[in-house]
């Protein structure tokens, strides 16, 4: 598909150069500054022959492009082999829910805004929307596909080179459309399996009274919207935070994952993403401290 893009781009640039030279040439070679009434009116040569030659020649790249397009379309529409991983991604205003599916229900887990995939293997993605139309796009790994409420679209990715690939919503979806990114981390299959196993595990029980107190505060202040498996927090309208510490960014790839950003986000998300569905929680200093202590155990 990359070479189709390059191919059409080169054809396009070629056409622009040829036509520009023809037009520029005609003006420079034939043009004159004169009082218009002094330049005689004459029908001149018919020119039709040139018109048909031009149209005929320019039709050739069109036909080539058409045939090439249809064959690439067929090739990229289906994964190269049987998908190794199946992820159901639900887009919402303004974050991405990712649910890793598995025939064994105990291996199903949910995460948000950062997905890991094994290198060298196709990954199938089911796309849904919780509210309006969004579009799932990881430019380096493939084309975009819209997420449309009321239907499930299918796409697939394959990363051959390990690395972190950034994606972004590409269908206008409201106020924070600009800040709805996601990360795709491609790693060797063995590392992927380790990550997967860690994600499947629920959050550990609090190891100290401070952490237990933090968990209580978290459940009380955050649990209506967020889920942390292994605690009483079971809200489903916001990102799953069970392994929050394993993510390199926050707020849908908007903030780097640091203590400062996390605190700032919890204290006032509206200052960072005005209109975000997470209200300014008006947590007090001690509350914020307790919540942070707990969140830092969610590795």
């Amino acid at each position: 598909m990359v070479s189709l893009t390059w191919g059409l781009l080169l054809i396009s640039i070629g056409v622009v150069i040829v036509i520009s030279l023809l037009v520029l040439g005609s003006v420079v070679v034939r043009g004159r500054r004169a009082a218009i009434a002094t330049v005689p009116v004459e029908r001149g040569a018919s020119g039709l022959r040139w018109l048909w030659i031009g149209v005929g020649v320019s039709s050739i790249p069109l036909v080539v492009a058409l045939v090439w397009t249809v064959s690439v379309l067929a090739a990229v529409s289906r994964p190269a082999g049987k998908p190794a991983v199946l992820i159901e991604i639900t887009a919402a205003q303004w974050w991405w829910k990712a649910r890793y599916l598995d025939p064994n229900p105990s291996r199903i887990f949910t995460t948000a805004n950062e997905i890991h995939i094994p290198t060298g293997q196709p990954v199938q993605i089911r796309l849904r929307s919780a509210d309006v139309i969004h579009s799932f796009w990881v430019p380096s790994l493939g084309g975009k596909t819209d997420t449309i409420p009321g239907q499930t679209n299918l796409t697939w990715l394959q990363a051959d080179v390990p690395g972190t690939y950034r994606g972004q919503c590409t269908e206008f979806c409201g106020w924070q459309h600009a800040h709805m990114g996601l990360l795709v981390v491609a790693e060797a299959p063995a590392e992927f399996r380790l990550w997967e196993a860690a994600q499947i595990r629920p959050a550990p029980a609090p190891a100290s009274p401070q952490i237990a107190s933090g968990q209580d505060t978290f459940e009380y202040r955050c649990g209506a919207c967020h889920t942390v498996r292994g605690s009483k927090a079971g809200g489903s309208v916001a990102p799953d935070l069970t392994h929050l510490m394993s993510r390199t960014t926050l707020a849908a790839a908007t903030l780097p994952h640091t203590i400062g950003s996390l605190s700032g986000w919890i204290a006032n998300p509206q200052a960072i993403k005005p209109g975000a569905r997470m209200p300014a929680m008006e947590v007090s200093g001690p509350e914020l401290e307790r919540i942070r202590t707990y969140l830092q155990t969610l590795k």
Binding site: M1, L4, V16, V23, R30, S58, F172
Partner: protein, 648 residues
């Protein structure tokens, strides 16, 4: 309504034997506010369209400049997301609906009767109505923006984001109702153009002798008659979902978001051809003037105009390639979208050949017409790239598409329009635009435009999505955005120079005679500006270039502008047959009337009532429209509408 009168065979005379002052008395508009509200003169209406459309162009341009300030650097928070969303949506709405079509309607309205050899459009009062409703609808839509409730979901406002659940304010109601309102203007205008083309051409102006501008506007009008009512209905469905509780697009009750996209784009794609084909016609008629020869390939160009529009009805899904539709459907639309390039290539090569095989005289108008060929090609190839489905899956909804749309819209609409202004300003005002200032205007506009939009192709290839109020640093977008912003201000300067040229030339421009460009078509046979009745006698036409016949020496037949039918028993023009232009009937034309203005006022009240849920006002508006229409359509003896029973 104009009806036939077969009472007499008109006398044929030389124009010296016809009293100009009598004709002037018959046709002139009354002075003052009375005339201003009641005129049906196509020239006055055309000029109003042009001035109003330019005003909207400037507003839309200012909106763009504000956005470009925000986007010049990453992570700017000067504009809130809501402000940005209203700006980009209003910018799109303004440029596409309140500038691009009306400017072409304005030029066409002004020029058509003159270039066709008629005294007015077929339906002069309907013409006035189309302007008043355009003005009213534009003000209606901007009222929302003015109170902070402007459209905020883009110009193609997808559901569910446009539904009341996600957009509870009045923004989308202003837009939906405003579009329905505006659609009335476009539709009646289109009907007027079609009938004018078929019935009011000068005797002898057979269908293969009409200027290409009329082919362009005719094609656009036929398309508009089909698609504009359809989109008005679509917007009405949205309004009903939002305000009355229907569920056309509501997923929870079995509605479909994709239904909106199909309905909208079935209109939207033909629309974008409607807003460029008349402008292409202006190039096809303007280049020959400055190249001192007829257009190369008149028939292929006329046919390719129609072919482009017909194909344009079959490509709408290319706006929906990423929505998950099946490959077979996508392939069909991809193929059609690639093939539609072919008729466009006909025009590009016809224009280029006309320059090569002519003796081009370089004037500002010529530069605008010649440069648009290059801009057209750039816009065309970026469209060709996005026509390929897999490539579109990368490029759609990125700045690559923004680059594409601005190359096609500014390159194929604005540049020809400015060229047309330089060409026809002398005819409209009796003064020439200044050529020296014109050259500055052209170069700064051309460079500014390309500096703004050429980098956008790269910005899109590097992955910057559309419609984002800010972007993170370090994505490879920073410098490109800064260059684009700089270019946009240069472009604005270029447009400012155009304005200055217009204002100064209106007062101090060199006086223009009837035919300052020594051009060949009928409009140049009238004084500059033309009298209210256009032609003292109805011209008789024998070729495509009546004023060039003696020099082209291609036929022994000659056109006559100073000798023809005298139609001076009241307001009259000649009705001719659609294909051959044989004179067949005298068409009686209406006097000035307040009815169109009153219909527009009543309709405005009606739409305000719908917007505010003040149902009695909506009803009163409807009643007012009905009453004004009754007065308007009441049969009049003067128009030959009360013919007594004739015994055969």
């Amino acid at each position: 309504m104009v009806t036939a009168s077969a009472e007499r065979v008109p006398r044929v005379a030389s124009q010296a034997d016809v009293s100009a002052s009598e004709l002037d008395e018959i046709w002139k508009t009354k002075p003052g506010i009375t005339g201003w509200l009641s005129t049906v003169d196509h020239k006055k209406i055309g000029l109003r369209y042009i001035v109003t459309a330019f005003a909207f162009l400037l507003l839309g341009g200012l909106e763009a400049l504000v956005m470009r300030v925000q986007l010049a650097q990453p992570d700017q928070r000067w504009l809130t997301p809501e402000q940005y969303n209203q700006l980009y949506s209003t910018h799109g709405m303004t440029m596409i609906f309140l500038y691009a079509m009306p400017i072409l309607s304005g030029f066409s309205n002004y020029l058509w009767p003159l270039i066709l050899g008629a005294r007015d459009m077929a339906f002069p009062r309907l013409n006035a109505l189309s302007y008043w409703i355009y003005l009213a609808a534009g003000l209606f839509m901007y009222a929302g923006f003015a109170i902070g409730a402007g459209p905020n979901d883009g110009w193609f406002n997808y559901v569910p984001l446009a539904s009341r659940t996600y957009n509870p304010g009045m923004n989308e109601d202003f837009y939906a109702l405003g579009m329905i309102f505006l659609g009335v203007s476009t539709t009646v205008g289109a009907v007027n153009f079609i009938v004018t083309f078929l019935r009011t051409r000068a005797p002898g102006m057979s269908i293969n002798r009409v200027p290409i501008l009329t082919w362009g506007t005719l094609t656009a009008s036929v398309a508009n008659v089909l698609v504009v009512p359809a989109v008005s209905l679509t917007f009405f469905l949205l309004w009903m979902d939002r305000q009355i509780g229907t569920h056309f697009f509501d997923v929870s009750q079995g509605g479909q978001p994709l239904l909106w996209q199909h309905l909208f784009w079935m209109f939207g794609h033909p629309w974008v051809y409607a807003i460029v084909l008349p402008a292409m016609g202006m190039v096809s008629d303007g280049l020959p003037v400055f190249c001192r020869r007829p257009l190369v390939g008149y028939a292929p160009v006329a046919l390719s105009t129609v072919a482009t529009m017909m194909l344009g009805f079959g490509v709408w899904v290319h706006h929906m390639f990423a929505t998950g539709l099946p490959n077979l459907a996508l392939s069909f639309f991809s193929g059609a979208s690639i093939i539609i390039t072919v008729p466009s290539a006909v025009a590009v090569f016809a224009w280029t050949a006309t320059i090569w095989l002519g003796r081009p005289v370089i004037t500002t108008a010529f530069l605008y017409f010649a440069s648009m060929i290059v801009l057209f090609t750039i816009g065309g190839v970026s469209g060709f790239m996005t026509a390929s489905v897999p490539v579109d899956w990368q490029l759609t909804d990125t700045y690559f598409v923004v680059a594409h749309i601005h190359y096609v819209l500014i390159g194929i609409n604005v540049f020809p329009v400015i060229g047309g202004l330089y060409l026809w300003f002398p005819k409209m005002t009796g003064r020439m635009l200044n050529e020296r200032l014109g050259l500055w205007n052209f170069w700064i506009t051309f460079i500014g435009f390309n500096l703004t939009f050429l980098p956008m192709h790269l910005t899109g290839l590097r992955g910057m999505p559309r419609r984002i109020y800010t972007y993170p640093p370090g994505m490879g977008w920073d410098e490109l955005n800064l260059i684009t912003t700089a270019g946009s201000f240069l472009l604005a300067l270029g447009i400012l120079l155009l304005l200055i040229n217009v204002v100064r030339s209106l007062r101090n421009g060199a006086v223009a005679g009837p035919n300052p460009w020594d051009a060949g078509t009928l409009e140049w046979a009238t004084p500059s500006p033309p009298p209210p009745y256009n032609f003292r006698v109805i011209p008789q036409v024998a070729s495509r270039h009546p004023l060039w016949e003696s020099r082209l020496q291609e036929t022994d037949e000659r056109s006559f502008v100073d000798y023809g039918m005298v139609l001076d028993h009241g307001r009259e023009t000649a009705g001719t047959t659609p294909l051959d232009g044989e004179p067949d009937i005298i068409l009686k034309m209406p006097e000035d009337s307040y009815a169109p203005f009153l219909v527009a006022v009543a309709a405005s009240a009606g739409f305000c009532g719908l917007l505010l849920h003040v149902w009695w006002l909506a009803g009163a508006g409807l009643l007012g429209v009905a009453l004004a229409l009754v007065v308007w359509l009441w049969p009049e003896r003067k128009l030959g509408q009360r013919v007594g029973l004739q015994h055969v």
